[in-house]
């Protein structure tokens, strides 16, 4: 039985009818058009579905949409604008940290969540923060460098 809920995504309130078994990932992608959040493994093992919930990263494939009510959700669409990239996104571009781009939304959000809490993380903190995000292309080195650079430039 559908229930009417309100989800706050990137600062915008969306009123939407959902069933209890609808995951946040399904609702984001299929109902609300936030396709920047990706579905890959669907069981919490890859991180491509990463979103930020009340400041902390979470796996939207393992969250029910109804569990997201009353929370501040940030997806990759919430970073930067069409004309100007968020500093972390720009660092990823500048440092060659993007190849196919599939892991990038989750990686960038993991980086944002880290830098919002710790503006000058060490390598180990960065690696731990992105530990839940798999990349099959880059080998992670440039992703870590990009995040270090973003931190260094004082941009979050």
């Amino acid at each position: 039985m559908k229930q009417l809920i309100e989800l706050r995504i990137n600062g915008i309130d969306h009123e939407i009818a959902v069933e209890p078994q609808d995951t946040l990932l399904e609702v984001l992608r299929e109902r609300l058009g936030y396709t920047g959040t990706k579905r890959a493994c669907d069981v919490g093992d890859c991180g491509t579905c990463t979103v930020i919930v009340n400041g902390r990263t979470a796996l939207s494939c393992l969250m029910l949409a109804v569990e997201a009510v009353g929370k501040e959700i940030v997806t990759i669409e919430g970073l930067g604008t069409g004309d100007k990239l968020h500093p972390i996104q720009q660092a990823f571009v500048d440092y060659g940290a993007i190849q196919c781009g599939f892991c990038s939304p989750g990686m960038i959000l993991a980086a944002k969540s880290l830098l919002d809490e710790d503006p000058s993380p060490g390598r180990e903190e960065i690696r731990k923060a992105i530990g839940g995000n798999l990349c099959r292309c880059t080998g992670y080195a440039k992703i870590v460098e990009a995040i270090e650079a973003a931190a260094e430039h004082g941009n979050k």
């Binding site: 399904e26 919490g44 991180g47 393992l62 029910l64 109804v66």
Partner: protein
């Protein structure tokens, strides 16, 4: 993988949770972080009609200090657990184990109660319905065969929770609540070496709280987790050790192992070898060998059972060398 239909209930009191569980029994399951149960449900392994969300239940998200112990609500997330000053100061072994679980997102969502109640796993079980339909139904699914240990009459699915090892070494207990009352059980009595029913909880019970004796002055600890990758993976083997040495003599040795059976276990023989004796290369080797003998893993997930057993010895040795 779409989830089957269910009703989502969000009680705000422990009494409400108990009453719902009493009413629906096996048709209701608890959801906290959802990182275990939703995966089971996506694989079609269980299809509860009700998910009872405990994230808003008063008291389950609290950490309180109580004389010489910590009382930790079952819904405390692993991130909050490892960041809690009380836990870091009084039970650093638990903070260390919580920080080793999965990855950042899984720690943000996952809870202590959920990590303790982690379902056992097996390559032949954690699969979709179409995959499993190509084989005879296994013991854990209610069938008659074990694909991991052919001919076995019991299920050997593996228990791989990290915090359980730390909690066993610390001598923790759990408070289980139901409409029939409450019971506090030592963690050593909570787990059962059976892949099908790995703990003593009844369908109408909730694990509400974990009581952890504080580490005393001079008690040093370490949680060593061996896994393929540095994140996401369960432990292939995890060893928690708590040691107190005074004037070269071991006053206390508590060693617990996870990932090497259907239940985490306390290395009782290893502890006997060390308690009251000097910690030397020789006694460490003996204690590690005793843990090796006690471990009886059957699973050949990721590594052979023999390799897994050898890992127990290596990690016990490493932990004791570090702390001795």
């Amino acid at each position: 993988m779409r989830l089957a239909k269910f009703e989502h209930l969000a009680p705000i009191s422990l009494a409400e949770v108990c009453s719902v569980l009493a009413e629906h029994g096996d048709a209701a399951r608890i959801i906290a972080g959802g990182t275990d149960i939703l995966v089971q449900m996506k694989h079609g392994l269980i299809e509860p009609r009700y998910l009872v969300d405990i994230k808003n239940v008063g008291g389950l998200g609290a950490i309180t200090v109580d004389e010489a112990s910590l009382r930790i609500g079952a819904a405390v997330t692993l991130t909050d657990l490892q960041r809690s000053r009380e836990v870091r100061e009084r039970a650093p072994l638990l903070a260390e184990a919580a920080a080793a679980v999965g990855a950042t997102q899984l720690q943000n969502m996952g809870t202590l109660g959920g990590n303790i109640c982690l379902d056992t796993r097996c390559w032949y079980y954690q699969q979709t319905p179409s995959w499993r339909a190509a084989r005879r139904t296994c013991l854990k699914m209610g069938g008659e065969v074990c694909h991991m240990a052919t001919g076995s009459e019991r299920c050997y699915a593996l228990y791989s929770g990290d915090t359980a090892a730390a909690l066993l070494a610390l001598g923790a207990s759990v408070r289980l609540a139901s409409s029939r009352g409450e019971r506090t059980v030592a963690l050593g009595d909570f787990f059962v070496d059976d892949g099908r029913n790995p703990n003593i909880m009844e369908p109408d019970e909730l694990l509400a709280e974990v009581i952890v004796p504080a580490q005393a002055e001079g008690q040093r600890s370490s949680y060593l987790k061996f896994r393929r990758r540095e994140a996401i993976d369960f432990p292939i083997v995890g060893v928690a050790a708590l040691v107190a040495v005074e004037d070269g003599v071991c006053r206390l040795a508590r060693i617990a192992v996870t990932g090497a059976g259907s239940a985490p276990f306390v290395a009782v023989e290893s502890q006997k070898i060390l308690d009251g004796n000097e910690i030397t290369e020789g006694s460490i080797e003996e204690a590690a060998e005793a843990a090796y003998r006690q471990a009886k893993p059957v699973s050949r997930m990721e590594v052979s059972a023999a390799y897994r057993k050898r890992l127990v010895k290596v990690l016990v040795k490493d932990a004791l060398s570090k702390l001795g």
